[in-house]
């Protein structure tokens, strides 16, 4: 029914946006836990195989964890205003640059 009523292309994303907004308090800590788990794995992998590639992968997951730690903190400090989209973009740029560099390093 919803799909028939949608007038704009972005209307199709509305249920997802509403779901994310409703569950924001639960989703952020979950993503933080997963990112910390990935960071732990990346650090253990670096310990097992100390190459530049694994150092960069670990660095990428470190920034990912920091970003999500800040986003969780944002829930308590100034809900939704402290960590802006623009600052999130900077983190994502660093993360992607690290992962891309890791592909070319051994």
């Amino acid at each position: 029914m919803f799909f028939l009523q949608a007038q704009h292309p972005w209307d199709y994303l509305r249920p997802l946006a509403e779901f994310a907004y409703r569950h924001d308090y639960a989703l952020r800590p979950i993503v933080l836990i997963f990112s910390l788990a990935m960071l732990t794995l990346a650090l253990l992998a670096y310990r097992k195989n100390p190459t530049k590639r694994f150092a960069l992968v670990a660095l990428a997951f470190l920034f990912f964890s920091i970003k999500w730690a800040l986003k969780v903190l944002d829930l308590f400090v100034s809900p939704g205003y402290f960590f802006s989209d623009a600052s999130e973009n900077v983190f994502e740029l660093i993360i992607l640059a690290c992962l891309l560099l890791a592909l070319f390093k051994h």
């Binding site: 794995l41 990346a42 253990l44 992998a45 310990r47 097992k48 195989n49 100390p50 694994f54 890791a102």
Partner: protein
């Protein structure tokens, strides 16, 4: 003289106990892997390993190009040591697991399973053949490889399997190394 080092004294040092625990957890572990797990400097690790060997708590054995360490307590048999050393090589481990499931396979099937060339499979299979873990037999034009004692190999794999975290880290390393 060397054996006069007291076992208790040898394990009094926390670093040495940790080292001994690692060898007990992973019988057949080699020097570099031990170094990674304990974060000890080469000289320091060599010294502590010498002490453990002199106290007859640990035994060092050359297996291929690696010097591997085994705990003397509950010491595995020679055959078990051979298979444990081989099980620590990822491709050989996969071959053993494949043969344990399929009962027998040709070189071509094994190469397809591992995604490597037939000559690489031959290289690994020869190690298993010389250790007596695998036997080959001809049927028509084909040569089949099979485990000599599948039940025993399965039991050994179960009792010395890696921890879940080890598997995760290995998968992580493998995925990123392939890219």
């Amino acid at each position: 003289m060397l054996a006069l080092i007291d076992r208790e004294k040898a394990l009094a040092l926390a670093t040495r106990r940790k080292l001994f625990d690692e060898i007990k957890r992973f019988p057949g572990i080699h020097f570099r892997e031990l170094r990674r797990r304990t974060n000890l400097a080469i000289g320091s690790l060599q010294y502590h390993l010498d002490v453990l060997c002199k106290a007859r708590l640990v035994k060092a054995e050359k297996k291929g190009k690696y010097l591997r360490y085994f705990p003397v307590i509950n010491e595995p048999s020679r055959e078990e040591k051979d298979i444990l050393a081989l099980l620590r090589e990822p491709n050989v481990r996969k071959l053993i697991l494949f043969l344990a499931n399929k009962k027998r396979a040709t070189n071509k099937q094994l190469a397809k399973f591992l995604g490597v060339s037939a000559s690489t499979v031959s290289f690994h299979i020869n190690k298993l053949l010389s250790a007596g873990i695998v036997a080959k037999h001809r049927k028509g034009k084909k040569t089949y490889f099979a485990l000599t004692n599948p039940k025993w190999v399965r039991e050994l794999i179960i009792s010395y399997r890696k921890s879940f975290l080890d598997e995760l880290v290995d998968s992580f390393v493998e995925i990123w190394s392939r890219l």
